[in-house]
């Protein structure tokens, strides 16, 4: 049983729940940027929650199935089509043998997760099937899909039910303007008070450079840092620090001009001041923001961040118990 890649889409890659435990060696977790939608697609289908799926960014692929399999598509709104016939999102449907699965234009969100009965069979690398393109690790030869690729599948799941649908309450609502909750970073004190205030008051536009490594923002005011004597080992630019570990979700602002939110394929350390960190509960949303859409950073404290995490965990529990 294989799937033939007729057209790869824009940046379609094999992802799962990520590669844990190697961050200290410089290897980021990778995995689906919107874990909620990735896991929802697998759970809907009766796959293991962490089975390898296709993450399809901004434009879907065209795939031909050599055998009949059920699939589920969650996340960004791109209508799936079997031999040109529209199929539902967030619902299990069957792709017959010899049929072609393609996708319509993206209407909302940025990344669709296509789970296929059984999951995609590629070798695990450091405990994960996720593609980490920068490091040429995991997935299919460590890279996004190309035309002519063949995907092998694991044995089909036994519990798949055609027509099973994600409860409406668990379907995410995509926006064109997101509020991302942020906790102060360890270099927050390097910003001037005025600059910090503006940073959290202005709208930022996602630049076209936004990808799995990081989301770059434009359109806000230049940030200013408090004057200082650069410490030994730090660069001369006011945004430089002595090299340190970067948390996932951390926001750095090279030269004070364009903030970058680091995501699941980012470098694990470097020499830019981290002025804040997007809370873990909001990182799934970051992966669903399209380039040129708007976001605003909203400052929260630890209690609020932990409450948001608990709420997210409740939502995931509901997904695991869906009828």
């Amino acid at each position: 049983m294989t799937i033939d890649v007729i057209k790869p889409g824009l940046a379609t890659s094999i992802q799962d729940t990520g590669r844990q435990g190697n961050y200290h060696l410089g290897i980021p977790p990778s995995g689906g940027m919107d874990q909620r939608s990735l896991r929802a697609a697998n759970l809907l289908l009766g796959n293991p929650e962490g089975a390898a799926v296709l993450e399809c960014a901004l434009m879907g692929p065209e795939l031909q199935f050599t055998e009949s399999r059920c699939v589920a598509a969650c996340g960004a709104e791109m209508t799936p089509k079997v031999d040109g016939e529209p199929q539902p999102l967030n619902e299990v449907f069957r792709v017959p043998a010899g049929s072609t699965l393609s996708f319509d234009f993206v209407k909302a969100g940025a990344r669709l997760y296509l789970a296929i009965e059984g999951g995609i069979d590629v070798p695990e690398k450091l405990g994960s099937r996720s593609t980490y393109s920068l490091g040429s690790l995991g997935g299919l030869e460590g890279r996004p899909l190309q035309a002519g690729d063949q995907l092998d599948l694991m044995p089909a799941a036994t519990s798949t039910q055609e027509g099973r649908r994600l409860p409406e309450l668990l379907v995410p609502n995509f926006s064109k303007h997101y509020m991302l909750r942020v906790m102060s970073g360890i270099y927050d004190h390097r910003l001037t008070d005025e600059s910090r205030e503006r940073f959290y008051e202005e709208d930022w536009t996602v630049a076209s450079e936004a990808d799995r490594i990081g989301y770059r923002m434009k359109g806000g005011s230049q940030l200013s840092f408090i004057d200082r004597e650069p410490p030994f080992g730090a660069g001369d630019d006011p945004s430089n620090i002595v090299d340190a570990c970067y948390p996932m979700g951390s926001i750095q602002v090279p030269s004070g001009s364009e903030p970058i939110i680091l995501h699941r394929d980012a470098v694990t350390g470097g020499g830019y001041a981290m002025i804040g960190t997007v809370i873990s509960a909001d990182m799934n949303w970051v992966g669903q923001v399209q380039p040129h859409q708007k976001i605003r950073f909203v400052r929260v404290g630890l209690e609020e961040a932990l409450a948001a995490r608990a709420e997210y965990q409740q939502l995931m529990a509901a997904l695991r118990q869906m009828p």
Partner: protein, 81 residues
């Protein structure tokens, strides 16, 4: 003769030139083949070629050079023979 739309397959910035100092790839009224590149869309640090997808005449561009486009937005119209 029929009219065909050339739509943006994904969101990004639409360019009509390979580089700022070069002429437009295709002029309005120009004859094109299916594989003629009529413009580029930049997204995620990459430029992707937008092809006419059918032989014919480009009748009009519907968006300016270097503008932000959404997925499915009409870029140009094509008169197909």
């Amino acid at each position: 003769m029929s009219q065909q739309d050339i739509q943006a397959p994904f969101p990004g910035v639409f360019y009509r030139r390979q580089a700022p100092d070069q002429p437009v790839l295709v002029e309005e009224g120009q004859q094109v083949e299916a594989d003629t590149v009529i413009g580029l869309i930049e997204v995620m640090k990459q430029f992707f070629e937008i092809k006419a997808d059918a032989a014919g005449t480009v009748t009009a561009f519907k968006v300016e050079d270097e503008t932000v486009v959404e997925a499915g937005e009409l870029l140009a119209t094509l008169e197909v023979e």
